[in-house]
């Protein structure tokens, strides 16, 4: 008789794999994460209360496994100083902006309706250093609290704020260069 866990793999394996791959970009790492997710789910399956769907429950476990992976694979991921990655480029010696951040001029609703913008955003996120991407996506998409991320990544609160600051700064500059500047080349 087919084990019930076969149904888990059949029904959810590909979706979990796609999610993991969007985060780690390495097929074999993504496969391992899916395997760890199912193994973890097996251990706690009695606690699945069916308030959410099975897919949501498994995806929640996967999100934790992804952060565990980043902690294991990136020792010393903490970033300590409060500066951006390019403090000398962005700010003068007095800490003033050298150039003004641009007025993007588009609302989130406008932007979210364009597939090309989503592609540009995805590329900018992928270009982040691994530790910044892990922290940023855990915070903004996966909904982890700052405290939870600190525990999972074994960093202090200050380390986390620095990582998130640098991630946001890189992303806004990447989007400025790769999307907004290209919209109005003469501006």
């Amino acid at each position: 008789m087919k084990p019930k866990t076969d149904a888990w793999v059949e029904n959810h394996g590909d979706a979990l794999f796609a999610y993991a791959l969007s985060r780690v970009s390495d097929r074999s790492v993504a496969e391992d994460l899916v395997q760890e997710t199912f193994l973890g789910a097996l251990q706690v399956r009695d606690s699945f209360e069916e308030r959410s769907s099975e897919r949501t429950w498994l995806t929640g476990i996967l999100k934790h496994k992804i952060l565990d992976y980043y902690r294991r694979s990136h020792r010393g991921i903490a970033e300590k100083t409060e500066h951006t990655d390019d403090p000398d480029t962005l700010f003068d010696k007095a800490g003033r902006w050298r150039n003004s951040p641009e007025n993007w001029g588009e609302t989130p609703e406008d932007l979210l309706g364009r597939r090309e913008f989503i592609d540009a955003l995805r590329a900018c996120i992928r270009a982040l250093p691994d530790n910044q991407r892990a922290a940023f996506l855990a915070r903004e998409i996966d909904g982890f609290s700052g405290e939870d991320i600190c525990k999972k990544l074994a960093v202090t609160a200050t380390n986390l704020w620095v990582m998130l600051y640098r991630a946001r700064d890189r992303l806004r500059r990447c989007l400025t260069e790769n999307w907004f500047a290209k919209l109005s080349p003469g501006a």
């Binding site: 866990t5 076969d6 395997q35 500066h83 800490g95 902006w97 998130l164 989007l175």
Partner: protein, 87 residues
């Protein structure tokens, strides 16, 4: 003293943790006087909105030809789960 570099860091931090009220007041005053920091703040707020709004789209990467478990991985995982004594 709050310069723009410090303000930019605090604006980001304020998205993740409440700042003391005195710091919020100082930030607010700086933003009233500094168009550049105000522009930075608008950028990171838009960034936050679009990333959260695009969460479902970002979870799938159309660049990967087949975002599916390989048959070998599928079989291996099934076997491993079955061997854990799952019913």
């Amino acid at each position: 003293m709050l310069n723009c570099q410090k303000v930019s860091f605090l604006l980001s931090q304020s998205l993740d943790t409440p700042l003391p009220w005195i710091m919020r007041a100082r930030l607010g005053l700086h933003l009233l006087m500094c168009r550049r920091c105000a522009a930075f703040r608008r950028q990171i707020l838009v960034l936050t909105s679009v990333v959260r709004g695009a969460a479902a789209a970002l979870a799938v990467d159309p660049g990967h030809d087949t975002a599916a478990l390989s048959p070998a991985a599928r079989a291996r995982i099934k076997e491993l789960l079955a061997s854990q004594g799952a019913a």
